[in-house]
Amino acid sequence: MSVSVQEADFDVGVETNALSAGRLDVGAVATFVGLVRADKLSGEGSEVSAMTLEHYPGMTEKSLETIVAEATTRWRLQGVRVIHRFGRLMPGDRIVFVGVASAHRGDAFAACEFVMDYLKTRAPFWKKEDTPEGGRWVDARDADDSAAARWEE
């Protein structure tokens, strides 16, 4: 179980493989990579040329660790890895990695999606997009609240 908040990019292959390396009891590794899209606001005609991710140092790591700990109480997991970047990112850049190892795929998929849903609503990161009209803070999405609420039952 390991959490990193960093400016640097990460290596998806290295991180995914590390979740099962040297183990014979992992049957399933589910991962998620989130990336910066250029067409975020294409409905409104503004292309995103760059993005800056602000965070709350200290709290970010704590909140991610709390989310991971919660996942490990809900499912049988053999490994969880979360990496979230901050700072200036360009379209196509990786933002976040979540990887989960388990004996069975059901647990791996559910826990991976759970961590992403909780991260989206509970980890203190904020995105500001550069567009031709200037910088614009991204609004929180109701869909993210609904996604997180699914796990509350």
Binding site: L53, E54, Y56, L119, P124, W126, K128, W137
Partner: protein, 84 residues
């Protein structure tokens, strides 16, 4: 009672402050009290007023307005998060 207050993202830009250290009057007991206390500064500080979509943390844990504020707490105000 003295607390450190942090502001993030659009709220930080609106207020023009990233942090401040405050000595609180005795009437300010909870996070909700602190928020109203700050909003009463008027002007841009009304961004912290009731009904505004502001989240808060005490000592780096997201909590509700009913939670008590203690001496030397680190309090943070910020908009809904948008990471991931």
């Amino acid at each position: 009672m003295s607390v450190k207050v942090l502001y993030f993202a659009s709220l930080r830009e609106t207020l023009g402050y990233s942090h401040e250290t405050l000595t609180l009057p005795a009437a300010v007991a909870t996070l909700g009290d602190l928020r109203s206390h700050l909003a009463k500064r008027g002007g841009v500080w009304e961004s912290l007023g009731e009904g505004r979509n502001v989240r808060a943390a005490i000592n780096q844990e997201m909590v509700g307005p009913e939670v008590a504020v203690a001496d030397r707490d680190e309090v943070a105000f910020f908009p809904p998060v948008t990471g991931g």
